[in-house]
C-alpha cells in the first residue's frame, strides 16, 4: 500500500490558487522530496496531508486515512515538523518531550530522543535560549515521540547554517534506515538530492516533474555536450561534418552529442584536422540545471544562483 496517495488535489484561498491539481504517490519506506521555490504550494500541500487544512477538492489518503476527517486517528501514526517550528519559550527540550509523551499517552523517551537529535547538552535549557538549529532538533525530537511510521518535514533546514543542516540530515538518514517513510519539503536542491529516493518538483501549484534525480535529469535535462576549447572556426567544419547542433560559447565550442561514442568520433575528427585545441570535457545537466529550466529560477540561502554553465560530468 502507498503511504500517501493524492489525486487531483486543489486548494484555493479565495482567488489565490495555491494548489492546482496535483497527483502524487509516495511509497512506503521511501524518502520523498517535494521540491519547489517559495510560494509554489509545498506547505499548503503538506499541511493538507497532515490534516491541518481542508482541501478545496480532490482525494487525499495518508496511511489509508482522510487527513481532514480522520485526523485524530492519523496523528497517532505520523510525526510532523511544521515549517518555522516554534515551541513554548519557557519549556526545556526535555519538558517538551515529556509533555508530548504525556499527551500521546506513551512513556517518555526523552533521553533517547535527545541523544538521537544530538541535543543532550541542551536538555534543560529553556527553548527561547536555543539556536535555530537546536529549535529544529527539538521539533524533530517531538515529531518522533509517538514512534511514527510516516514523518513530514516541512523545510526542516531553512535558515540553518551548513553544520546544523548536516546534523539534521544525519537524523533524517537514520530515520530512513529505520524504515520510516519521510515526506520532505525543501527548496534546497542539494538537500533533496542527498536525502531523497524520489523527487517531485512543484511550481505554481502544479507538479512539473517526478522521479529519481537521475530520471528527472534524463527526462528534462539537455543531452550530453562535448566542450572543446579551440578556435571558433572549427565550429562550421563540425556542423558540416556531423550535423550536430554546435555552439560557440566564449573560447570554447559546445557540440551536442547523442552518446560517448559520438564524442570519440568528434575528437578523432578534430585531432586529424590539425586544428590547434587545448582541452575537452563532456558536460551533463545537473538537477539544478533541470530545476532552473522547469521553474525558471533557483534561489538558495546564498541568494539567486547565477546562470548555469553546466556542471562537469
Amino acid at each position: 500500500m502507498a503511504a500517501i496517495e493524492i489525486e487531483k488535489l486543489v486548494k484555493d484561498y479565495g482567488d489565490v490558487h495555491a494548489v492546482r491539481g496535483i497527483d502524487l504517490t509516495v511509497r512506503e519506506g521511501e524518502v520523498f522530496a517535494f521540491l519547489g521555490p517559495n510560494g509554489a504550494g509545498k506547505t499548503t500541500t503538506v499541511e493538507i496531508l497532515e490534516g491541518l487544512r481542508r482541501p478545496t477538492s480532490g482525494k487525499v489518503r495518508v496511511l489509508g486515512l482522510d487527513p481532514w476527517t480522520e485526523g485524530r486517528a492519523l496523528l497517532r501514526r505520523i510525526g510532523v515538523i511544521p515549517q518555522e517550528f516554534h515551541f513554548f519559550p519557557k519549556l526545556s527540550p526535555r519538558e517538551a518531550i515529556d509533555l508530548h509523551s504525556g499527551l500521546f499517552g506513551v512513556p517518555s523517551r526523552a533521553r533517547e530522543l535527545l541523544e538521537q537529535v544530538e541535543l543532550t547538552d541542551k536538555a534543560d535549557a529553556h527553548y527561547d535560549t536555543l539556536s535555530g538549529g537546536q529549535h529544529q532538533k527539538v521539533g524533530l525530537a517531538l515529531a518522533l515521540v509517538n514512534d511514527p511510521e510516516l514523518c513530514f518535514l516541512d523545510e526542516p533546514t531553512t535558515g540553518l547554517d551548513a553544520r546544523a543542516r548536516r546534523s539534521i540530515w544525519d537524523v533524517v538518514q537514520r530515520l530512513k534506515s529505520e524504515g520510516r517513510t519521510i515526506f520532505l519539503t525543501t527548496h534546497y536542491l542539494e538537500e533533496a538530492h542527498i536525502l531523497a529516493n524520489r523527487i517531485a518538483i512543484i511550481n505554481e501549484g502544479q507538479i512539473v516533474a517526478t522521479g529519481t534525480p537521475d530520471e528527472i535529469i534524463r527526462q528534462y535535462g539537455r543531452p550530453e555536450r562535448l566542450r572543446v576549447v579551440a578556435d571558433g572556426g572549427l565550429a562550421a567544419q563540425l556542423r558540416a561534418k556531423f550535423g550536430f547542433p554546435v555552439e560557440v560559447v566564449g573560447d570554447a565550442i559546445e557540440i551536442q552529442v547523442r552518446s560517448k561514442k559520438d564524442s570519440v568520433r568528434v575528437i578523432d575528427f578534430i585531432e586529424s584536422s590539425g586544428v590547434d585545441w587545448q582541452s575537452f570535457s563532456t558536460e551533463q545537466d545537473t538537477l539544478e540545471d533541470v530545476f532552473i529550466r522547469l521553474v525558471g529560477r533557483y534561489e538558495d540561502s546564498n541568494g539567486p544562483a547565477g546562470p548555469s554553465g553546466g556542471g562537469r560530468a
Partner: protein
C-alpha cells in the same frame, strides 16, 4: 475529555506561565502592590478630619474657648489655632495653602452674653471641594447650638449617628473585593488575548493540533489554571488586607462561585478578542480597549455608588461590576440574595462569551 491529558497539559501551561516574569507579576504581585499602595494612602480616609486654621481675636474668653471645643467635638474638624495675624487673614490662609479658616472676632464673649448680634467669619478654599461643605456644616451646627443655648431653648430633634451594617467599614474593606475582581479580570484577559493571537501566529496551536490534546481539553486546562491563579490571588489580597490593614472581610462560600465563573468569563472574553483580531498587535489594542475601562469603572478601586449617575449606568453593563458587587455582598454585607443575583448575571454572561469565544477560536485553518 481525557483527565490525564488535561493534567499533563495543565502542568506544562503552569510552568510556562510561572516562568514568564510578566505573567507572574500581573497576576499575583501587582494586585498585592496595589493593595499596599491604596491601603496606605486611603486607610485613614474614613476618619480623616478637615483642618481649619482659626484666628481667635477674643483670646482667653471662656465662650470662645467653648466654641472651639464644640468645633473639635464635631469630630470632622481639627482646629489649628494661630495667633492674631497682621494684615488680611484671607491672604494669610492663601499663603499657607489652608483648606479653610475661621475668625472669632474681638468681643465675641461680650456680645454673646449681651445677646448682641456677632458674626464668626468662615473662609473656604474653592480648590478644597467637599471639605468646604464639611467646614460650613460643622460651624453652622455649632453656631446653632450656641444660639439655642443663648435663647434658653431645648433641642427637640436630635440626631443619632449609626453605621451601615454591623460594623464600621473602612476603605480597605471595599478595596479587597475590588482587587480580587481586578485579578479575576487582568490575568485571564491579558494572557488569553496574548495567547490566542501570538500562538496562532507562531503555529503553536498547529503544534498542539498534531497531538491527541483536544481543543476542549486545552481550554479546560487553561480555565483550571486561571481559577487556581484567581484563588491564590484572593487569598494573598485577603491576607495582606487583614494582616497589614486590619480589614474586616469575611471569607465565605459566597466568594467561591466568583473565583470560578469570573475566570471563565474573562478567559472566554480574552479568547474571543484574540481570535477575531488579525494580528497580535491589533489583539493587544482590542484587549486594552475592553480591559482598561472595565478595570476602572466596575468598582475596583472606588465604590460605584460614588460615581456620577451616567457612569453608574455604564458600570452596570460591565460584567466585572457584577463580580465585584457580588464579592462585596458576600464578603462584607453577608447579603446572600444579592450575591446570588450577581452569580446568575456573571454566569449568564460567561456562558454566552464562552460559546462565542470557543467558536471563534480555531485550532486549524480551513
Amino acid at each position: 475529555m481525557n483527565p490525564k491529558r488535561i493534567a499533563v497539559y495543565f502542568v506544562a501551561f503552569a510552568k510556562g506561565f510561572l516562568r514568564n516574569p510578566m505573567g507572574l507579576f500581573f497576576s499575583l504581585i501587582f494586585p498585592v502592590i496595589l493593595i499596599l499602595i491604596f491601603g496606605a494612602v486611603f486607610s485613614n480616609a474614613g476618619s480623616s478630619k478637615t483642618p481649619v486654621t482659626v484666628e481667635n481675636l477674643d483670646q482667653n474668653s471662656p465662650t470662645s474657648q467653648a466654641f472651639l471645643t464644640a468645633l473639635n467635638q464635631t469630630g470632622v474638624l481639627t482646629v489649628n489655632l494661630v495667633g492674631p495675624q497682621p494684615g488680611n487673614f484671607s491672604d494669610y490662609l492663601a499663603k499657607q495653602s489652608a483648606t479653610a479658616g475661621l475668625v472669632i472676632p474681638d468681643g465675641f464673649q461680650a456680645d454673646y452674653l449681651s445677646k448682641s448680634p456677632v458674626s464668626v467669619l468662615v473662609f473656604t478654599n474653592p480648590t478644597a471641594g467637599s471639605a468646604s461643605g464639611i467646614v460650613i456644616g460643622a460651624v453652622t451646627g455649632v453656631v446653632n447650638g450656641f444660639n439655642l443655648h443663648a435663647a434658653n431653648g431645648t433641642p427637640i430633634v436630635s440626631e443619632v449617628t449609626l453605621n451601615v451594617g454591623s460594623q464600621i467599614y473602612t476603605y480597605i474593606d471595599y478595596l479587597i473585593p475590588g482587587l480580587i475582581g481586578f485579578s479575576v479580570l487582568i490575568a485571564p484577559m491579558f494572557s488569553m488575548v496574548n495567547i490566542s493571537s501570538t500562538w496562532r501566529r507562531d503555529g503553536l496551536f498547529r503544534r498542539l493540533v498534531l497531538t491527541p490534546l483536544t481543543r476542549a481539553e486545552w481550554l479546560t486546562a487553561a480555565l483550571l489554571w486561571f481559577v487556581l491563579l484567581a484563588t491564590i490571588s484572593a487569598f494573598l489580597l485577603i491576607g495582606t488586607g487583614v494582616l497589614l490593614f486590619g480589614a474586616h472581610v469575611s471569607i465565605t462560600l459566597a466568594v467561591a462561585p466568583f473565583l470560578v465563573v469570573g475566570p471563565v468569563l474573562f478567559v472566554s472574553l480574552g479568547l474571543l478578542a484574540g481570535s477575531v483580531s488579525t494580528s497580535p498587535e491589533s489583539a493587544a489594542v482590542i484587549g486594552n480597549v475592553i480591559t482598561f475601562p472595565m478595570m476602572f469603572l466596575s468598582g475596583t478601586f472606588f465604590p460605584v455608588a460614588e460615581f456620577p449617575q451616567y457612569l453608574q449606568t455604564v458600570a452596570h453593563v460591565l460584567p466585572l461590576y457584577y463580580v465585584i458587587d457580588g464579592l462585596n455582598a458576600g464578603m462584607l454585607y453577608g447579603n446572600a440574595s444579592t450575591a446570588l443575583m450577581d452569580v446568575v448575571v456573571t454566569l449568564a454572561v460567561a456562558i454566552a462569551l464562552f460559546v462565542l469565544g470557543a467558536r471563534a477560536f480555531k485550532w486549524r485553518d480551513e
